[in-house]
């Protein structure tokens, strides 16, 4: 347990992606079976443990600690699991029988404990674990690690450990179970790649590369089909041998949040498409925006009301398996014909086919791209007619040609130091635009950006922050921003939505600092009305 606890402690505080991968890969290399398998399960969210209520933990602590002292402690630390892990004093009465404190032993013990036993089991474990392990243990039993590690990152660490492509891990993933003995055997080169018994597993998706100006010369429009790039999330729906699953692009199982879509799947096979909310083309109702879709994302369960208010559907892009038959080796045209047949017979309110965009020249397609017929379109996809469906992001068969980003001029308002390489630089910026919505003309923050600039530009920004700080709040500096004195930056972003969580009422997607506008005065920066006008009208 101690090694796992130490890993969690490091992961919580390590901001860099590559360092996180290294920490996890090193752990997987050195930890024994089946501990590492349970660690993998808890990091990737596949470990099922009945969780322990905070109330019970509090009761346990108060058996030993004065309530006032506990309250002072909790107020200071702020997190219940951490407070308990820190204040816990092992009981000095009666030498307790030493128990197995490996992660796997703990998991097994918790899984077999009856409701009535839980109290005693948790108390004994808290008594015998060291401080750091107590924290890991409490995180495990209260559910929700929240340590800034996604399932995809964990898989990346597995790929690094075994020196295999992450695609291989992803396609195996949903056919395997904790403690993943066969997976680790294979990654260590001690056995063959595991063979899966469950058919409805995730198959790594085919990804497109961005199209650049220089590509056109070598590409012939006649070799390609064009489709709109819809602004939802890319999904894979598998329905085989009685198992139905909905996977995100990275292979996370999101079935629980979309029972409406899964239940409607009346075909056998695996399709690739865009998950959207609203009406399908076949029902002649409007597709709704990404922010509406967000209402349904990141949920384990979904209410009936949610389903009614935000009905989900899939706009089909591709067919990987027709029934049990793997057709990924066939060309795009063939696969699409079979997809069209399948969707035609599927419920019209839950499935439609992504339409092709007719064009004869790149110029013509470019003008269509600039003025798409629907606000939920974020660009164009180009797919070679003769391309098979291949996992991963290979340059050539598929291209994405995004709509140009939005741009505004905004004023820097706050800055915060970055992490790692950037820990001595003010590199995280909050920027704002002008408004007189609530009275006098003032700047209102509209977003945060921490990339987009070059190293040289960062030095300029950092120097400006240091020389123009007006106030400090902990790690945050407030920067001088007046009509005639301040720093203007050009912010590029991919989209903008209404947001009730932000004071300004708007939220940007992927904002980044595109250019420093030292030539501009803050008074020339954009106004909130300009941003509000950019929000896609609800159709």
């Amino acid at each position: 347990m101690h090694d796992f606890a130490e890993l969690l402690d490091r992961l919580v505080l390590t901001p860099q992606r590559n360092a996180k991968i290294k920490l996890m890969a090193d752990y997987f290399r050195t930890a024994p079976d089946p501990d590492r398998g349970y660690a993998l399960a808890s990091l990737s969210g596949t470990l099922t443990l009945s969780t322990v209520k905070p109330q019970l933990l509090k009761q346990l602590v108060l058996e030993r600690l004065d309530e006032v002292l506990f309250q002072y402690s909790y107020d200071y630390v702020g997190d219940l699991a951490e407070t308990i892990s820190l204040v816990w004093e092992p009981s000095k009465d009666a030498v307790q029988e030493k128990i197995d404190l490996s992660l796997s032993a703990i998991v097994t013990q918790l899984q077999s404990a009856s409701r009535a036993d839980v109290h005693g089991v948790v108390r004994t474990l808290l008594d015998q674990l060291d401080g750091s392990s107590r924290f890991a243990f409490l995180k495990l039993i209260t559910g929700g690690m929240r340590i800034g590690v996604s399932a995809r990152l964990v898989k990346q660490a597995l790929a690094e450990m075994g020196n295999v492509d992450i695609v291989e891990i992803e396609s195996l993933w949903h056919g395997l179970e904790p403690p993943y003995l066969d997976l680790f055997q294979w990654l260590e080169g001690k056995s063959e790649k595991p063979r899966l018994s469950m058919p409805a597993v995730f198959h790594s998706v085919m990804l497109a590369t961005p199209l650049s100006e220089s590509d056109f010369a070598s590409l012939d429009p006649k070799d390609f089909a064009a489709e709109w790039k819809w602004d939802g999330i890319r999904v894979q729906l598998a329905n085989l041998a009685g198992t139905r699953r909905l996977y995100s692009r990275s292979g996370d199982d999101i079935s629980g949040a979309f029972p409406d879509v899964l239940e409607a799947a009346n075909f056998e096979g695996i399709i690739d498409g865009e998950l959207l909310v609203g009406g399908t083309a076949r029902t002649n109702r409007a597709t709704r925006s990404f922010s509406d879709l967000q209402q349904r994302l990141n949920r384990k369960m979904v209410t009936r009301k949610m389903i009614e208010d935000y009905p989900a559907f899939i706009r089909g892009y591709d067919l990987l398996f027709a029934g049990e038959e793997d057709i990924r080796g066939r060309n795009f045209v063939e696969r699409r014909e079979r997809l069209a047949e399948l969707i035609n017979a599927a419920p019209p309110d839950r499935f439609d086919l992504s339409p092709l965009v007719a064009f004869s020249s790149w110029d013509e397609l470019d003008s269509l791209r600039r003025a798409p017929p629907n606000p939920v379109i974020e660009g164009i996809m180009l797919k070679r007619l003769d391309s098979p469906y291949t996992a991963g992001r290979m340059k050539g068969p598929w291209f994405k040609w995004k709509r140009d980003p939005y741009n505004i001029d905004a004023v820097l308002m706050y800055a915060q130091r970055g992490h790692g390489k950037r820990s001595s630089f003010y590199s995280d910026f909050t920027f704002g635009v002008w408004t007189d919505k609530d009275g006098p003309e003032t700047l209102v923050p509209v977003g945060k950006a921490y990339f987009g600039f070059t190293d040289a530009e960062l030095e300029i920004l950092d120097r400006y922050v240091r020389e123009n700080t007006i106030e400090r709040f902990g790690p945050v500096r407030s920067i001088r921003a007046e009509p005639d004195h301040g720093f203007v930056v050009e912010v590029a972003f991919e989209g903008i939505n209404v947001s009730s969580r932000h004071k300004s009422g708007v939220a940007m997607r992927f904002p980044r600092i595109a250019r420093l506008r030292e030539d501009k005065l803050p008074r020339d920066a954009d106004r909130l009305e300009t941003l509000v006008a950019m929000i896609a009208p609800l159709v």
Partner: protein
């Protein structure tokens, strides 16, 4: 007269509040006309240890251990006070009928508790203290007393400092795991930095350690005192040699990390050696990636154990989290009160 039999016995003992009380300038002994760790310049000051919030410059007369006086001289220059007098540990000096003596506190080199006694009343001002072994200074010695004045920097049940060898091991593991990164360790210039270096040496790390300029004189002073710190090099190299810091340990005061100074190092990993690092959120807020929980103060169980061991009839609590420690004393039936002294940093560890 009925009370006559009892009165003389009580009169023999001076009320502790009359012997020592807090004023805006610090803890004051009226009878001896001296202050202990005053926060403003005074006529006569007794100083427990050399940390800047306890040892300020500009007093007319200063009484402290020889090491504390040396440290003040290093930090403030030769004219840090009017006249300096050094006190040998354990030796009793009389100041206008008040007996004072200095006893090791185990906090940093030269740190001492001060025992103040008059008319049979004994008060120990512990200053900052710790109970763990520290290769760089003499260990705390409990001194029997009527009133024990304790700090409460880590006076909350959450604080359980782990074994410092384990914390040093974390740093050594990280050096192996990330040999391409500079391991930038924040540690206070007096005490903590030297202790971390000494602990690294004890753990078998014998590579040169690079130090920030602010640490140089104090490290030199510790070395003169026979505390072996191994090979130390200044962390000031021109940019052409940046890469030479990869996989090396660089130690500097925590404040230097936010500074442009930190930029000379390739891909630094931010480490901080402090008791505060126990709470993950605090480490996170400071942007610390590798917290080393190494403290020069007592943790909660050590505070309680010390109070039990010293067994005073009263406890006065100074800077830190007074309320929790006072509450604990109350639960134990030990009279206790906070002193509300101002001017001592709660953060300095």
């Amino acid at each position: 007269m009925l009370a006559g039999a009892i009165l003389p016995a009580i009169l023999l003992l001076m009320k502790p509040e009359a012997l020592l009380y807090s004023t805006p300038r610090g803890l004051y002994c009226e009878r001896g006309d001296f202050y202990i760790d005053p926060v403003q310049p005074v006529e006569r000051a007794l100083i427990t240890h050399g940390h800047a919030d306890h040892a300020r410059s500009g007093h007319a007369k200063v009484l402290a251990t020889r090491e504390t006086l040396d440290i003040m001289r290093i930090r403030y220059g030769e004219d840090f006070c009017g006249t300096a007098e050094s006190s040998e540990l354990g030796k009793v000096l009389s100041i206008d009928g008040v007996d004072v003596s200095f006893h090791p506190a185990g906090h940093v080199l030269g740190s001492a508790q001060i025992l103040v006694q008059a008319e049979g009343t004994r008060i120990v001002v512990s200053g900052d203290y710790k109970r763990r072994r520290d290769p760089t200074c003499a260990g705390f010695e409990p001194v029997p007393c009527d009133v024990f004045i304790t700090e409460a920097t880590f006076g909350l049940p959450v604080f359980h400092h782990p074994d410092d060898r384990g914390e040093i091991a974390k740093l050594l593991t990280s050096l192996k795991q990330f040999p391409e990164r500079t391991h930038l360790v924040g540690a206070y210039a007096l005490g903590k930095a030297q202790r971390v270096i000494a602990l690294l040496r004890e753990s078998g790390y014998h590579e040169p350690i690079f130090i920030h300029g602010a640490l140089a004189k104090l490290c030199g002073y510790y070395q003169q005192h026979g505390i072996s710190l191994g090979e130390l090099r200044p962390a000031t190299v021109d940019s052409s040699e940046r890469q030479s810091f990869a996989g090396k340990i660089v130690i500097g005061p925590p404040s230097a990390f936010a500074d442009r100074w930190a930029r000379r190092f390739p891909d630094p990993i931010a480490i901080f050696a402090s008791g505060w690092m126990l709470v993950r959120q605090r480490a996170k807020q400071r942007g610390v990636e590798l917290p080393m929980i190494i403290s020069d103060h007592c943790d909660w169980p050590e505070l309680l154990a010390t109070i039990k061991e010293v067994a005073p009839s009263q406890v006065w609590v100074t800077h830190g989290r007074e309320e929790a420690l006072v509450r604990w004393c109350e639960l134990q039936g030990i009279p206790a009160r906070p002193l509300h002294l101002v001017g001592y940093e709660d953060e300095g560890d």
